[in-house]
Amino acid sequence: MNAVQAETERATTRIASGSQAYWRCVDFLVHEAEALDENRLDDWLAMLHPDIDYRAPIRVTRERTKGPGFSDQGYHFFENHESLNTRVERLETDYAWAEDPPSRTRRFITNFRVAAFEGGDLHVRSSLLVYRERLDETAPQFLVGEREDDLREVDGQLLLVRRRVLLDHSILMTPNLGVFL
C-alpha cells in the first residue's frame, strides 16, 4: 500500500480557513520556512516532534490510470528524529562542504488545506516551491511539490510529527539534497 494513501485514510474533519487552528498551522509552516531559509537548523529541529516520520518518496512517470507514481518503497528522504538530528549536526561541522557556503534558498508555501484528525493532530496540505542557488551559479534550481504534514500539540506548541514531501520531479534538478524540504 502506498505510504501516501495509508495516512489519508484516517478520519479527518475539515478545519475552516481563517480559524484559529488554521492560522496556527500556517504560522507554523511559515516560521519553519523562515528557520530553514535562514539556516537556523537548531530552531528547526526544535519544531520537530520526537516521533517525526519524515519522507520524500521517489516519483516515477506512470500512465494516467496508474496514479501519481509515488513509490511506496523508494525515498529521497526517509528520516526519523535521530537521523534528522545527525544531519543537522553534520551540517554544523566545519566540513559539510556541499552546504558551506550554504545555498541561498527561499521557500514559498501556499495553497493551505487544513484538517483535524480524530486524535487531535492537525493535517495540513500545502504547495511548496523551493528556490535554490549555490555559489556564483546562475542556473536557478527549483524543488517543487506538495507537502502533507501532521502537526501535534505538545505543551501548547505545535510540532511536526509527520511529513510527506510529494515532489513533482522524476529526476531531481538540483545537484544534491543538502537542504531540507
Binding site: I58, E79, N85, P175
Partner: protein, 471 residues
Amino acid sequence: MYQPQPEVLRFLDEFEGVLEEGAIPIRTFNDPELHELELDRIFTRAWVFLGHESEIPARGDYVQRRIGRDPFVLVRGEDGEIRAVFDSCRHRGAMVCRAERGNAALFRCPYHGWTYKNTGALVGAPLLRDAYGSDRDKSTRGLLTAPHLESLHGFIFASLDPDAPSLDAYLGDMKWHLDMIWGQCEPGWEVIGEPQRTVLAANWKAPADNFSGDDYHTVYLHRSTTETGIMENPGGDSDLWDGYHVQLGNGHHFIRNMIPPDVPGPRFLGYPEEVQKLFSPTMQSEEQYEGLKHTVGFVGTVFPSFGFLSFPFKHDRSRDFVTAMSIRVFEPRAPGEMVAWTWSLCPKGVSEEFRRETYRTTMGTFSAGGTFEQDDSDPWMSITRSAGATYARKVGMRLDYRMGMKGNASSRRVDDYPGPGVAYYSVLEEGGQRGFHRRWLQFMRSDDYPPTMTPEEQNAGAGLGERNGHG
C-alpha cells in the same frame, strides 16, 4: 562514424605520454569534442550497466534506461528473455514506451499505432494490408535491440557493439570479485524501490574517477561524517587505510577493506546474523566465501560508468551500524553535466526491519541527499568548472595522479592478496584511477574495439609498470 578533429587526436596522443608520468590533463573533465567522442567510442561499445533483474521479475516487466544518453527500454519479453530495445519506432522514430516502468505485452507507438511485442518484434500496424500491400514483412521492422545483453547474478549489462567481447571477458578479474560479493547469497539479491536520479553540473568521469580507488578523499572531504559518528572504523584495531586496491584489468578496480580473521569485528560486510546465514559456502570457492566473510566494505567500478559500494554506517545513531550497499551509474549528459543514478541493494529474504534500515542507511549516506554524497558532488562540479577554463587548456594544466608511483607512496604491491588481480596495500595510492584513465584512452584512441587486457598487460602496454614504485 564520428570523425574527431586532428587536434583532438593529438591531445589523446599527448595524454598517453602525460599519463605515464602520473598526470592527467584537466581538460579531459570538460570538453565538448571529447564528450562527443566518448559517446561514440565508449558508450556505444563498452558494457554498460542497465539495471537489476529484480526490477523486472515478471514477463513483460520493463523499465526505461539510458545507454550513454540514448533511451532504451529494458524489458523481460514474453519468452522470458531480457532485452534492451532502442525506444524509437521503426516507422517515424517516435517513442514507443510511455511510462518509466510497468508491465506490457505490447508496445504500441502512439503516432501511427505500429505495435511491437515486448520482445521488440513488430506484430502489427493499423490497416496493414491497405497500407503496405504485399510488402508486409514485419521481420525487418522490429525495434533495434542491443546486440549484447548479459546478466551476472541479476546485474544486467549491455553493449551496443557487435564486436564486444563476452561480459565475462570484459570483466576480467572483476568477475571473481562480483562472484564473491553477489554470487554467494542463496536467495539472491534485489534492489529496493526505484532508482533515484539527479542532474549534476559535473562530468561523469569525476565520480567514476572517485570510485576507482579514491580512498584518500575520505579522511578530509567526509570528515563531517566521522565527527558526527556516521562513519567510524567498525573494525576496532584496523583503520580506514587497512585495505587493498585491486586492479582487475580493462579499467575495472576494487577497493576492499578487510578485517583479519583473528580480530573481532564485523563479518560479511557487517551484515547482521539474519543476513549472514544467507551466505552459502558452496556457491563459489572457499577463497571467495572466506573472502566475503572477512571483508568489511568495498568500493568497485566496472569501466566506464558503473560503481558500487558497501559499508556499515550509522545514519540513525539510535541504532547500531547498518550495512548499506548501493549501486551507481554515472550517465553522461553533456561535457559538464551528468545524471547520477542510485539503487539500494539488499539480499532477498531478510526481515522487513532490516530491509528498511539498510535502505534508509543507503539513501542517507550515498544518494543525492546522503551525508557523504552531498559533499562529493561539490568537488565533482568544481573540477568540471575548472576543466572548462581556457587557461587550463592553454597551459595544458595537469592534475597530479602520482600517488603510488615510484617514490610516491608507502603503498606497495602485495602478493598475498586473497584473490586475483594486481593488489596494493595500503590504499594510499592512485593506480586504480590511473588505470581508469588508461582504459579510457584505449577506447578513445582506437577505431577497433580495444583488446581485453590483464592489469599487468594494461600497465605494461602503457609503460607504467616500470615506473610504478610497487614491489
